[in-house]
């Protein structure tokens, strides 16, 4: 049984949703930002929200929390880490993923259900998908414009793109999510944890959590 750990920072908003989503496939528990101990979890979700108020710059302060130091170590030793929205911003700030998330070109918060295309299934969090799959998943953010300097763009391990002209924030090359070179750390702006039930939207987000479980039990 896979155990997911979902981090709770002060200011996290989507940690309970992530917990519920992960429970479709395994056990899940909250990890407190002041604890260094990851409690032996198999996979870590850095959830959405406004960690530490997102003051100064999105994700800037959360990356220095005690729990994130352990997550960085966990990630470097191959542990599975998924950063969603604010979690993606934190992972970029922490240098666990390349790039940065800038304010949306339209400068406003945007909440919308949209399609994201799977670019790579060679990551721990997309193994259950196929390249070209379009997942219906909502976005909701003010700073989701993915940016890397041009000379690093070619090296970025792109995992998701906004499908059919749906780029909501001006991200470079429609990039919605990226992975580290090893594929164990993935970050994305859309919210798969909010796409796990037909009653509240779609179920396409389940694929990511399913992937993490599959990764642990190689066929």
């Amino acid at each position: 049984m896979t155990t997911f750990g979902v981090i709770r920072f002060p200011g996290s908003c989507d940690e309970v949703d992530a917990l519920q989503a992960a429970r479709h496939f395994g056990e899940a528990k909250l990890l407190w930002h002041k604890d260094r101990d990851l409690g032996g979890v198999d996979a870590v979700v850095v959830p959405g929200g406004f960690s530490y108020g997102d003051y100064l710059r999105v994700g800037a302060i959360a990356r220095f929390s005690p729990v994130m130091e352990s997550v960085a170590e966990f990630a470097r030793s191959g542990g599975l880490v998924l950063g969603i929205c604010n979690g993606f911003q934190v992972l970029c700030e922490a240098g666990l993923l390349p790039g940065a998330l800038l304010p949306n070109l339209e400068r406003r918060f945007i909440c919308r259900q949209l399609g994201i295309e799977v670019v790579s299934d060679a990551t721990a969090w997309t193994a259950a998908c196929s390249p070209g799959d379009v997942l219906s998943i909502p976005v909701k953010h003010t700073s989701g414009r993915y940016y890397v300097p041009d000379d690093q763009l070619a090296d970025v391990n792109v995992v998701f793109r906004y499908a059919h002209d749906g780029n909501p924030n001006g991200s470079t090359n429609d990039i919605a999510g990226v992975a580290n070179a090893e594929g164990n750390v993935v970050g994305l702006m859309p919210h798969p944890e909010h796409a796990v039930d037909p009653l509240t939207g779609s179920t396409d987000g389940l694929k990511l959590f399913e992937s993490a479980v599959r990764e642990r039990v190689p066929a």
Binding site: D14, Q20, G53, D54, F109, C111, T142, D197, L199, T200
Partner: protein
Amino acid sequence: MSASPPSPAAALPSVEEAVALGLTAAEYALVVDKLGRAPNQVELAMFSLLWSEHCSYKHSRKLLRTLPTEGPRVVMGPGENAGAVDVGDGLAVAFKVESHNHPSAVEPFQGAATGVGGILRDIFAIGARPIAVLDSLRFGEPSSPRSRFLLDGAVSGIGHYGNSIGVPTVGGEVYFEAPYEQNCLVNAMALGLAESSRMIRSAAAGVGNVLVLFGASTGRDGIGGASVLASAEFGEADEDKRPTVQVGDPFEEKKLLECSLELLERGLLVSLQDLGAAGLTSSASEMASKGEVGVEIDVSKVPLREADMEPFEVMVSESQERMLCVVEPARVGEVLALCHKWDVHGTAIGTVTDTGHVVVRDGDRVVGDMPVAALVDDCPLYDLAPAKPPQPLYAAPVRTLEPGASPRETLLALLSSPNVASRLPLFQQYDWLVQSRTVRRPAQADAAVLRLPNGRAVATSIDGNGRRVACDPYNGTVANVLECASNLACVGAEPLGTTNNLNFGNPEKPHIAWQLTEAVRGLGDACRALDAPIVGGNVSLYNEAADGPIYPTPVVGMVGEVPDPERAGRLGFSETDPTRPDVVGFAGPFRPHLPGSELAKLRGEPLPDGLPAADVAAVRAAQEAIRDAVRAGELSSAHDVAEGGFLVAVAECCLAGDVGAVLDVGASDDTDRLLFGEAPGGFVVSGPEDAVRRLAERVELDVFGRVGGDALEVTVGGERIDVPLAELREAHRALAPLFP
């Protein structure tokens, strides 16, 4: 009663100062009488706030007493921070609406943001976890730069606070009318979920118990705000009266919320109260009053953001994101430790006493000492002197549609009218999905639907067309209540309870008093007739500018029950099987009229003096028929007719479902009235033919055509209106340019 003034016996404020703070000379004399001496500065500041309109409801309380507040599902009625209704399985949904009109007119972003923060605190102050926000907004016409500025700021502010704190904003409403140009309205409603047995009240209890203040530190925010902001009419020369703007900190509130709920979960609190208008003054006095005890507070213990604050400033500061709780002495350590866990400042600032007085100390010095009853109960309540105005109060709207426009042109003009056009540009700035409860989001249905942990769901809607009420305060208010309940019916919900926000002008003027009196009468009658008791609300008066009062705007919010969220209704037509298209029915005791309608506004027609009375019982019966059909899963869509009338409602069903319809509505002697007239009680439904016909057994119903195609085609009296969906959609996008 303490006859000698507390030390130091510095120069006591004069009656002139009392008047500048908003008290009348007679009220000041009454304060002196109740104290047995003249109040000092701390005491006067506290009296002036607690005796302000905002805190004392001195011009509205007598009217509010006429409202129905009881029902089998009411768990908490008016008087607490929020009302609550039973939703089964030991769960309760708490809800309340509150206004932040004047702060928003000064600084729309922070005003609206702190408005959301304030209503959320009211919800978690009774131990409920906030699960939804709705916003009700009124601005001048969008052609005015000021209105656009206020709109943009208010929408961003609501989003900023709600999104950051992780509470979805699932619904709301916005109207644009010239009388709101100077006085915008920003009302926010919130819902919360609690286990009924865990809910907590605000009454202080237990002599010797400790008062713990927790949350943000106290600064000079909004000092004098409650009395100056809420009671003064806005004028051009108001610059120097501007109080310090309160800045909201949703991050602090998020911690405060989690901390409060965990304190309650662990059973560490005797009572809990948020700090809202008049800050410590009102929260401490009201806790003492409800518990029939006294309190003693030491202002020197209150953590300050600014050094050198005077005791009276500490007592009246409206700094946001603070709560006050009563704790048994033995548990104080645990309470402070939990505050520390959440990085929230917690400080013991006083005790519960048996004196029946509010005593304010600054260290060793007593700087204020007043009987609780004098502060909270003895403010005089005023009778209104209502008189119907002899002439119209409001200028005719500016004409934007030329006479003689064809039905097609009229339809497109209505769809692009700011009061009808798609609200997507607003609500896409709100997180409507966090917490994974949102079964129906904005624009999917007439009411938002939120599922509950017990497998059921609640629906919620907020409504309050002020123009109708300006035409006829009684019938207009009844129509607002009916519309709110109709919205619930369309998703299959039965009303459990109602909240309301009475936004009016200066009640000391007879014609405003008349509007208010008639509106409250309509509100009470309609809620009684629907068995939708009022569990809470708010009153915002003095919404006037040099050019006159706002439209009288009683905003009505309801919460209803949906037994099966899988069957929650939708408003959009759907085309599942083109070979067996759904039929479109028009149901209800609908008697449309044009005067006062959106079309009349576009035509620049003056407001009529009076609206036809609705047959409330017949509308209720229609709501029940629709509700039952939706709950039975018989219908594909249901949508009530509101601004713009029947044809606009049909167009909205087409746009929401992205499919056209072909209708023949027969002949009419007054096409405009039939297509665009407004009244309560009309519903556009669609579904399989047999299901729609079955509905006709319970409610007046005509089948007008079927769903399908990519245009809205309507034949009326031999004339054909044919508008492609794309053209409808383009007209409906009219608000998008307001958010560049």
